[in-house]
Symmetry: C2
Subunit: 97 residues, 2 copies
DNA sequence: CTTGTAATCCTATTTAGGTAGGATTATATA
DNA sequence: TATATAATCCTACCTAAATAGGATTACAAG
């Protein structure tokens, strides 16, 4: 029985690229002890697609992405722009970077 | 000169569906006083695509989505699963809904 | 009401995503 | 080293995304 080597979680909490999503997804999946194919079956998405997502290819659709994130129990949250223009709102969530 | 009616920001900070992304993008865009076509030009994406994004169609790709979010100055962050399985990491942010 | 403009909707074309299936490579353990 | 299995890579097919362009509708202000 081969052991799944868990990949590290991102060091920061920000998610601002497909690559960040991929790192996150992979970390959660491996932490849960699921193989790529297992996860693909669970989430009901092609293993190739899941791999593309984990590899940070920005080709995956939003629908698929949220489907995967939901299945893995990952939640995203937003932060408004610094000071784009007067009237901009902001919700602090303990910044990291 | 017609006034742009700003759409409200989401009431919650979580982003767990294409619809949430759309609401967010539209709120930021209108808050910045940009028209849909203006924004499309700025971000360099077809106005139809931007509209699909704002309308919550999950068809838009991750790459396009982050391109738009970056251009609008919106940042996303993640929260690990509550207690998916033993060994899972957790970052408490006291969420409920 | 009229006018200017933003948003929505529509169509066609091109490109790329999503998928299944299998082959190949890497790697953890015995 | 041998072996089992996870991960990566590859091919091909079909559907859908992304786009440009224009028409239509909604709407705020004069």
């Amino acid at each position: 029985m081969r052991k799944l080597s868990p990949t590290p979680f991102p060091d920061h909490s920000t998610v601002l690229s497909p690559g960040d999503v991929g790192t996150l997804v992979r970390a959660v999946r491996t932490a849960a002890g699921m193989t790529l194919e297992e996860a693909a079956l669970t989430v009901q998405v092609a293993k190739q697609t899941l791999q593309n997502l984990e590899k940070g290819k920005g080709t995956v659709s939003l629908a698929l992405t949220f489907k995967v994130l939901a299945a893995l129990g990952v939640r995203l949250c937003w932060r408004a722009p610094e000071e784009t223009s007067p009237g901009a709102r902001n919700k602090d969530v303990s910044d990291a970077s």
